[in-house]
Symmetry: C2
Subunit: 371 residues, 2 copies
DNA sequence: CTATATATGCTCGCATAGAGCATAATTCGC
DNA sequence: GCGAATTATGCTCTATGCGAGCATATATAG
């Protein structure tokens, strides 16, 4: 594992910081033998910079959209801002600040996604400017939901459907063509490139689980698993770009395939977006977060369309109402909406306290006292 | 202040190479008009130090245990080590390194939990030593599962049942006494302390949802929600400690109550542990992670006991087998175990590819083509 | 008035989870 | 060696939930 010497200590506690820069704090942290196992000394790890990455989502008609920005090198990416510990008490404060200052988007639900710290993830930009290999920018990814696709005042910012980046995730109009036409052949080739039978079987099992092949079901919330499998199989542009930048051999397979698998993003932003998609899709099932994406009044059909946009497949209309109304998540108003044609739909609003829970288990719990 | 946490699965990959110091990277990041929305220039945020916090879990008989360490000031806490970007390519690499070096624990499943960056979470120590409020240590919390409670060589490290810290989470022997005796009265007092009716209703709704009161179900995975509600209601020692340290008024209520609500931990470690408990409990339902906590061969009853230890309530034996066997998660071996009394149980092992999915939805999806 | 389109109410059947009975295979006390 | 105690394991019963679809209500377009 990594030369150098061993250092850390393993101790509990509160950060002993105080009147020191973070660098000093870190050094102190490792020098002090705070009990536990610690007996090693550590010269002091280099500090890192923290950036806040935001996946800001809205649902516009039947398109789930994400706020995108264009970076200096022309790549599309997610907007982000620096986190300044001196000015922000929490990550979320920092995030809301720069988002609301630089865009007119009003954020509703905000939740931390994941913290990305892999060396090299910020590669392209870093390489261009050259520098110290020990540097590290840690990105804390956040998911934020907004009710309206407010026009963004920034020049190169824009709302895009997330299916521009993940065309295989949209099953609303049947099985995505790109799956059969491009992705499956690509994976098949990847299986064949395996050096041994075990690796090959492993790859097949992984893809089958992620993409719901065989008798396995398509699980919409596994968007990240799918993207990562495609990345490793060389089916997305980022895979080729990163391996080239790192001086490694290309991933193999047809270099033209990635052109058909959706728009790529700079850095690892498409991965972050995949994480966000998976999270929203999963969370939708056990928390009423859809309403953060809806206007104050809506019809059940528009609500259904929003859910469909997110999960990527169609729902059964009557059953959808049955669930939503039965769960007490919405309240009917006196108003109705009259649009082009058909019977006017009742307008609903989110229930005052939609904090109930659904969430299906597969654990046979005991209700009675006896076991 | 203490926002909602919760993250998800993950797995990192990807490498490249970065250049320049973190401080420079950060400055460059903010100065450079990376398009997007950025037009603000930022003087260059102070860098922060990153610590890796580990919640290392095992199941010992019917106790879910967590590896604890004792800090200099005597508080119990989670073990942690610094993250050195110069030596570690990824967070997980760094984590595994110091864990495996300083303990003899062999980690199985590892997953990022949440990144904690709130100012003041390290409050006590920082205040004691006095100092710069701008210094910041960001903690990346990790969940790690191990199959065996290996003896730890560190002096002050020990395995403890997580129910020592969360006695109200264990329903295996009926409703936890502490709930009725201490927690409910404590919350009732908290409701009464609300200054207005709206606040009061909000508090009641929140507690009802978290603790499953009224007709709401107890959701075992909401451990964090419960802890946070108790923290705000002044029902845990950390609440009093933190508010005192910050020079704020005490949370109110009976200062003796926290003595009855389980062991406290230093810093915000009990919160991190609550996050971990919620995560394991939730993940258990849709991924076969239990097997990372089991020996290679086990009986179905021991597997059931492990699950019960985690979720905190008892399961129906026959139905448990039906599910586990039916889902193809385990394979029967030829061996049987003979213990004290009763019919010998067949020994099972985890299925070769337990990658299927369970996961109950509450979304009425369409199977046929028609909507 | 007719065709069409959407909203909304209601029922049917199957799969599944919760619950519990019955039987099998051991050890233990005597 | 025998009955009691204990644990394992197979099987059935039933309520519920969900996928599915029929039927009816209420609007617009022409």
């Amino acid at each position: 594992m990594h030369g150098a010497h061993r250092t850390d200590r393993y101790d509990t506690t509160r950060r002993l910081t105080a009147r020191k820069t973070a660098r000093n704090a870190c050094a102190a942290m490792s020098k002090r033998p705070i009990r536990t196992t610690g007996k090693t000394t550590h010269a002091g790890a280099a500090p890192v910079a923290v950036a806040l990455n935001a996946v800001i989502l809205v649902v516009d008609e039947d398109a789930p959209k994400v706020l995108c920005a264009r970076s200096a090198d022309g790549a599309i990416g997610l907007p982000y801002g620096p986190f300044d510990p001196a000015r922000h008490r929490t990550f979320e404060t920092g995030l809301r600040e720069w988002v609301e200052r630089q865009t007119s988007v009003r954020l509703g639900f905000v939740e931390q996604l994941y913290t990305f710290g892999d060396k090299g993830r910020e590669a392209p930009a870093a390489l261009i400017e050259g520098g110290d290999a020990s540097a590290r920018v840690v990105s804390v990814g956040y998911l934020a939901l907004a009710a309206e696709a407010a026009p963004v005042n920034a020049a190169d910012a824009q709302w895009r459907s997330w299916y521009d980046f993940f065309p295989w995730e949209d099953w609303r109009r049947g099985a995505p063509q790109v799956l059969e036409a491009v992705i499956e052949p690509g994976f098949t080739a990847w299986f064949r490139r395996a050096t041994d039978a075990a690796t090959r079987a492993q790859r097949e099992a992984r893809v089958a689980a992620a993409f719901g092949m065989g008798d396995l079901p398509w699980e919409e919330e596994r968007a990240l698993d799918r993207y990562e499998a495609m990345y490793e199989a060389g089916l997305v542009a980022e895979s080729w770009r990163d391996r080239t930048a790192a001086g490694l051999a290309p991933p193999g397979g047809d270099p033209d395939l990635p052109r058909a698998t959706g728009l790529s993003m700079g850095s690892d932003h498409r991965r972050i977006l995949a994480t966000a998609i998976g999270r929203v899709r999963g969370k939708l099932k056990y928390r009423p977060i859809v309403f953060d994406l809806m206007p104050s009044r809506f019809t059940l059909l528009s609500l259904q369309r929003a859910v469909e946009a997110i999960v990527g497949f169609n729902l059964h209309k009557q059953n959808f109402r049955r669930h939503v109304e039965g769960a007490g998540l919405v309240e009917k108003t006196e108003l109705t909406e009259r649009q082009t044609s058909g019977r006017p739909a009742a307008l609903f609003k989110a229930a005052a306290m939609p904090d109930k829970a659904a969430g299906g288990l597969s654990i046979p719990r005991v209700r009675t006292a006896v076991r």
